[in-house]
């Protein structure tokens, strides 16, 4: 189970007590929400906060980050076409190379269709499709030598999300929420910003696995009804529901009083009040009316091609501001360029370039980047050889990600793939290493964050994982 009593934990973070988080949760959401909070507090006995699955828990050691935003590029972007140009690949364009690929029939080596240029003091190469992202490269720490197990999307998605390529294991977001709780009890601690098409492999990507189900990710929408069942039935008004809840509270209080020692009953009483509050708070999170026109423009909400991802990036910032721990922002559609790599990657770069620039800029100017870890990457990479005329097949043997923000050493780069970008050769980095590093920045020792299940103490990093120290500042 938990191992939070760390002998090395000298500078424990301030753990807000229940009253503090109630006040924090209420702040800025108008008097209605606050009044609800106070009335909830006065009408029910406050349970021991440790009974809440989301109660804030101490990290193992001083944390660099209090939140993670994972810009998830589903479908697998190509490293050699984005941030890791390979002159040798250009030179050997059209030559054959013996490579086994997922879909069979590999073509010859294919150079990148994009032009590259160096940016920043770090001289980082970036393709010409990412001009806005390129402005931030001095804050990035690259991992250019990631590898994973499976050549197939869903096992690879499961692996990068849970550490294991088989379905049913807890995701990184679930582990972190389990380890640290959440700073906002009125919102889920682990939020997934998906897309209209859905994600391959579905909710198992943000599963809680054998961890308590409370830690699973909650899909949040930036428009309409942000969370499932957040909207009241058409024939129930807010005040109608309030009277239902008052009657319910009266019944439940009497029921509870006759069953002392059953804290679960109290937990459920509070869950109803929390649900009532969530209806206003979650709706408030997606209300962008208080954001300035400049901000909306910064994220690209003024343009059709960037509106969707920009809106999610803005929502991610608003969730971080409210104390949400872990936010995954899925790309719209897949970088899965089996054909027409040029068109596919152009489109996805365009859709995410300004929004990511907006997010990094906004986080920085609000002082949030110091405490927020931002990650960019997909579930694997793409082959240096062509598929069909102009595509690239899946490549789990070498792929790329970057981190920015809290605790990250800007301008750093770890590892290399071979000269054509096929296989990670220098400082090979596993998904477990990435996870270990994420946990480390959140103040968690990946070897000590364990959960007993089926006769074993399980970890996010299984029996592996090394913190990527060269990338940390």
């Amino acid at each position: 189970m938990h191992d939070f009593a760390s002998p090395t934990c000298r500078r424990s973070r301030l753990v807000p007590n229940r009253r503090q988080w109630l006040a924090r949760a209420g702040a800025g959401f108008g008097t209605v929400a606050l009044a609800d909070l106070l009335s909830a507090k006065s009408t029910s006995t406050v349970a021991d906060e440790s009974t809440s699955p989301f109660a804030v828990r101490r990290p193992h050691f001083s944390a660099r980050a209090r939140a993670i935003i994972w810009l998830f590029m589903e479908g697998a972007p190509s490293a050699v076409d984005t941030f890791d140009p390979k002159p040798e690949l250009t030179r050997r364009d059209g030559q054959t190379m013996k490579i086994d690929v997922f879909n069979g029939n590999p073509g010859p080596l294919m150079k990148s269709p994009f032009a590259f240029r160096q940016y920043g003091e770090s001289g980082t190469w970036v393709c010409d499709q990412y001009p806005h992202v390129a402005r931030h490269v001095d804050q990035f720490a690259f991992i250019k030598s990631l590898y994973s197990e499976s050549n197939d999307h869903v096992p690879a998605l499961y692996q990068i999300n849970t550490g294991i390529s088989r379905p049913g294991f807890p995701s990184a977001g679930a582990w972190i929420t389990y380890g640290l709780g959440s700073e906002n009890q009125n919102l889920p601690g682990f939020v997934v910003l998906g897309n209209n098409q859905g994600i391959k492999g579905g909710p198992l990507n943000w599963n809680s696995g054998f961890l308590p189900t409370a830690y699973q990710g909650t899909l949040f929408r930036s428009e309409g009804t942000p969370i499932l069942n957040l909207k009241r039935p058409a024939d129930v008004r807010r005040e109608d529901q309030r009277r239902q809840l008052d009657l319910l509270a009266a019944w439940n209080a009497a029921h509870r009083a006759a069953r002392p020692g059953e804290s679960e009953l109290q937990g459920r009483i509070e869950a109803f009040e929390l649900a009532y509050r969530m209806q206003s708070e979650a709706a408030a999170v997606i209300d962008y009316s208080q954001e300035s026109a400049e901000t909306l423009q910064l994220y690209g909400l003024d343009r059709a091609e960037t509106r969707s991802y920009g809106s999610k990036c803005l929502l991610a910032r608003r969730l971080v501001e409210r104390g949400v721990r872990f936010i995954q922002v899925y790309s719209d559609g897949e970088w899965d360029a089996h054909s027409n790599l040029t068109g596919n990657h152009k489109q996805h770069c365009l859709a995410t370039d300004v929004p990511i620039h907006g997010l990094l800029t906004d986080l920085k100017q609000r002082g949030l980047l110091d405490s927020t870890l931002v990650i960019w990457g997909g579930e694997f990479g793409r082959m240096p050889v062509s598929q069909g005329k102009d595509g690239r097949d899946h490549n789990p043997h070498g792929f790329i990600a970057w981190m920015a923000g809290a605790g990250v050493r800007g301008g750093a780069s770890l590892g290399e793939t071979d000269e054509v970008g096929y296989r990670a050769t220098v400082d090979r980095t596993s998904v477990h290493d990435l996870h270990a590093t994420m946990l480390h920045l959140m103040g968690l020792d990946h070897t000590r964050l364990t959960y007993a299940h089926n006769g074993r103490n399980f970890r996010l990093t299984d029996v592996a994982g090394n913190v990527l120290w060269p990338l940390l500042g």
């Binding site: 069953r259 009953l265 649900a275 089926n454 074993r456």
Partner: protein, 760 residues
């Protein structure tokens, strides 16, 4: 050590200096060093530092150390030991850390200088390994005395002081512990509540108020007799199999689709689900129930139920990877699926966590890698298949062997499925074999009236072994299922880790009781209904919530001196909503129904069979939840919110979370609101619209009791105020509609109440 200190220090000096000169200086003159005692000085070193990776089925680097011959044979890198010449023996350089980066053992404590010295001297003296001296298998040692791996015993039923309280032998085991702890059992639960709890426990449904009344009347006449009659009646109800079949489907991780990326619908998974329900209803002996699930096709190829039973092996997630795709990926997928089968059998049937052994041996795990791959042989010749079942176009998703010839199988070191150097044959773990061998079971599988089938009969051999309580794994099989039944009836299992009975599991809270129950199950020809009767006829089962003293002394209720409120499982919650609203469709068996799911809740891309978006509520969709189509990557939100497992892995114990999304579901979910509306309709019809009658009737239907005065008053006040307020402000409705909506709101509030969800 009994060496002269001088000799040791000269050896140490030699090692520390590491130079030829120093080593030769340390070289013992014949006769100057007493002969090394292998058993006392060397064997413990091999045992402690080397055996985990180089013995008992493990041979890292191709090197084994179980005998002198193995030691001298060396490994992949060549010889490691040169008798008479420690200087040239690589093993010494490795354990002394003189061989570059490589050091042995790679992890864990290193050899002390004294140990290195002893090993050296032993080699120099010619590696004398006396006959009859053997390494002991740490796995075997750790497990030899472990309670779960022993043959079944029949513990005597204890004599106790409070014998008058006891109704079944179970009570005597419990009261003995209670007495010892200075505790008393809680008073008997009032008839009305006990009846309701039993009804939920056995059928997963609330009783009708008339049934409760009838029972209370009978119990007033003859309490003991009435309870027995009730137990018998409920055990004979077809709803019993639906309830306990659902419990079993968690173990089988049954679903109606493949999961993974494609999540193809399994149109013919349901015959397995129906097999489970029918088996519990007909009290199919548990040993046969298990045997059929492993090898029904090899036992009774003409029996549709036996065929469908092997759906157990086909129930897990599955991805179809076309032959054109990368071979490595297809193999990974295949062995992941076989691992899923083995893990399900391990934790689900035997309480053994065998998944770890796929990659490596661990000295505390009951099974080694060799055990794992020897078991895998049973399934390596087979795969999923849709086969005709009975008549017409009925089919079933089952497991089938490809032919009579077993497929070759290897021990894949570190799970590397291209490592095909160590062939293995079907074999059962030695820990769970007493006086019979794998070959005996294989012979039995072949000879014992076996019908001619194009099948290897390896699964049948496995099934024989797993259900053999005298010589095989049957004792463990019985203990595990008994624990599960106890868990469902009493809330907490006797062995907390229901899927892990291994050496690191917590011992049972009541070891003798568990043992007695397991033995009783086997003696009753594996009749689960017999066991159910025993459990629910006990005085312990009929206890009340108890007193403050009992709660304070034993807050977790480890001593079972009372009962605790039990939350309904997701399916029982939905089934109760349907029952109370008067709209439950009792149609049993057959293809699963798909309820409407909000498009907001469909979160997966690229499904081969997308979940329909145009489903309209209807009576056909008001069947019990066990018949609901479980689409793996499109879970039904209401059930998922209340912790229905995701069917990715075998689940023996559901989570019981208490979170806001559950409350949002009860407040805002369209289905909940709809059944509240149906409940209101039912009340209005049954009570002719009289509000004063509606309130008590609603309480009796939803909670099995009449409201007390306060509840009656608050309910009436609510209905009045709600009806009035709904005619005020925005979105008002007329008086008649307002009155109706007030009743719907009231019904929904009852559904949301803690008393509806938690059964005393």
């Amino acid at each position: 050590m009994n060496w002269p200190a001088r000799e040791i220090s000269s050896l140490i000096v030699g090692l520390l200096l590491g130079s030829a000169a120093a080593a030769s200086a340390a070289e013992p003159l014949p006769g100057s060093v007493p002969p090394v005692d292998f058993r006392r000085e060397v064997l413990p070193i091999l045992q402690l530092h080397c055996a985990e990776c180089h013995a008992f089925g493990n041979q890292e680097g191709g090197f084994r150390i179980s005998s002198r011959a193995e030691l001298l044979a060396g490994g992949d890198e060549g010889p490691a030991v040169v008798p008479g010449d420690s200087q040239s023996s690589r093993i010494i350089r490795l354990v002394a850390g003189q061989d570059g980066d490589l050091r042995m053992p790679p992890n864990g404590p290193r050899l002390s200088l004294e140990e290195v010295g002893a090993l050296r001297a032993w080699i120099d003296q010619g590696c004398v390994w006396p006959a009859g001296v053997e390494l002991s298998d740490p796995r075997r040692e750790a497990s030899r005395g472990h309670w779960a791996f022993q043959p079944l015993a029949r513990p005597p039923v204890p004599d106790v002081r409070t014998a008058g309280w006891c109704r079944t032998p179970i009570d005597r085991f419990l009261i003995e512990r209670l007495e010892a702890a200075g505790l008393e059992p809680a008073a008997e639960q009032p008839a009305r509540m006990a009846m309701r709890r039993l009804h939920f426990g056995l059928l997963g449904l609330p009783p009708d108020p008339a049934e409760i009344d009838a029972y209370c009347a009978a119990a007033a006449e003859s309490p003991g007799h009435a309870w027995e009659e009730l137990v018998d009646r409920l055990l004979e109800s077809p709803s019993f199999g639906e309830r306990w079949g659902r419990h079993w489907l968690d173990i089988a991780h049954y679903a109606d689709s493949d999961g993974m990326e494609s999540d193809r619908d399994r149109r013919f998974a349901f015959p397995y689900r129906d097999f489970a329900i029918r088996s519990f209803n007909s009290d199919l002996p548990y040993d046969r129930f298990v045997r059929w699930q492993l090898a029904g096709d090899e036992y009774a190829p003409e029996n549709a139920m036996a065929i469908a039973a092997t759906g157990f092996l086909a129930a897990g997630p599955h991805e179809v990877l076309e032959p054109r795709l990368l071979e490595e990926e297809r193999l990974r997928n295949r062995y992941n699926e076989l691992d899923d089968i083995l893990s399900t059998i391990g934790t689900g049937l035997l309480g053994l966590t065998i998944g770890c052994a796929r990659c490596h041996d661990h000295k505390y795990d009951a099974l080694s890698s060799r055990d794992y791959y020897s078991l895998m042989c049973a399934f390596h010749s087979g795969d999923r298949a849709e086969v005709p079942l009975g008549e017409e176009d009925e089919k079933a998703l089952v497991f089938r062997d490809g032919g009579a010839e077993p497929a070759p199988t290897w021990l894949f070191r570190r799970a590397d499925f291209y490592d095909r150097t160590q062939p293995v044959e079907l074999g059962f773990p030695r820990l769970l074999l007493r006086g019979r061998s794998t070959h005996d079971y294989q012979a039995a599988a072949r000879s014992n009236g076996s019908p001619p089938v194009a099948s290897t009969l390896q699964r049948r051999a496995l099934a024989e072994w797993i259900s053999d309580a005298d010589h095989g794994a049957g004792a463990l099989l019985a203990r595990v299922i008994v624990n599960r039944l106890w868990q469902h009836h009493f809330g907490e299992p006797l062995v907390a880790s229901v899927g892990d009975f291994g050496v690191r599991a917590l011992p049972p809270t009541h070891p003798q009781l568990l043992e007695w129950l397991a033995d009783e199950l086997v003696r009753s020809q594996w009749s689960l209904k017999h066991l159910h009767r025993l459990l629910v006829l006990s005085a312990a089962y009929r206890q009340s919530l108890g007193t403050a003293q009992g709660r304070d002394t034993d807050p977790e209720n480890r001593f079972v001196g009372r009962v605790r409120p039990r939350r309904l499982e997701a399916e029982a919650l939905r089934d109760s909503l349907l029952t109370v609203s008067g709209t439950l469709n009792r149609q049993m068996y057959g293809p699963a129904f798909k309820p409407p799911i909000a498009s907001d809740a469909m979160l997966a891309r690229n499904l081969k069979d997308a979940y329909p978006t145009n489903i309209v509520e209807s009576a056909a969709l008001r069947r019990r939840s066990v018949y609901m189509f479980h689409k793996r990557v499109v879970p039904y939100p209401l059930l998922q919110a209340f912790d229905k497992p995701d069917a990715q892995q075998s689940c023996g114990r559901r989570d019981r979370s208490t979170v806001a999304p559950q409350a949002l579901t009860m407040l805002n979910d369209a289905f909940v609101r709809t059944v509240a509306d149906d409940f209101a309709t039912r009340l209005q019809v049954e009570c002719s619209g009289e509000t004063a009658e509606i309130v008590p009737r609603a309480f009796r239907l939803a909670l099995g009791r009449a409201p007390d005065e306060t509840e009656f008053a608050s309910s009436l006040a609510f209905l009045r105020v709600q009806a009035r307020e709904r005619q005020q402000g925005e979105g008002t409705v007329d008086a008649r509609a307002a009155e109706r909506l007030a009743i719907v709101d009231f019904c929904q509030t009852l559904f949301a109440s803690n008393e509806f969800l938690y059964i005393d």
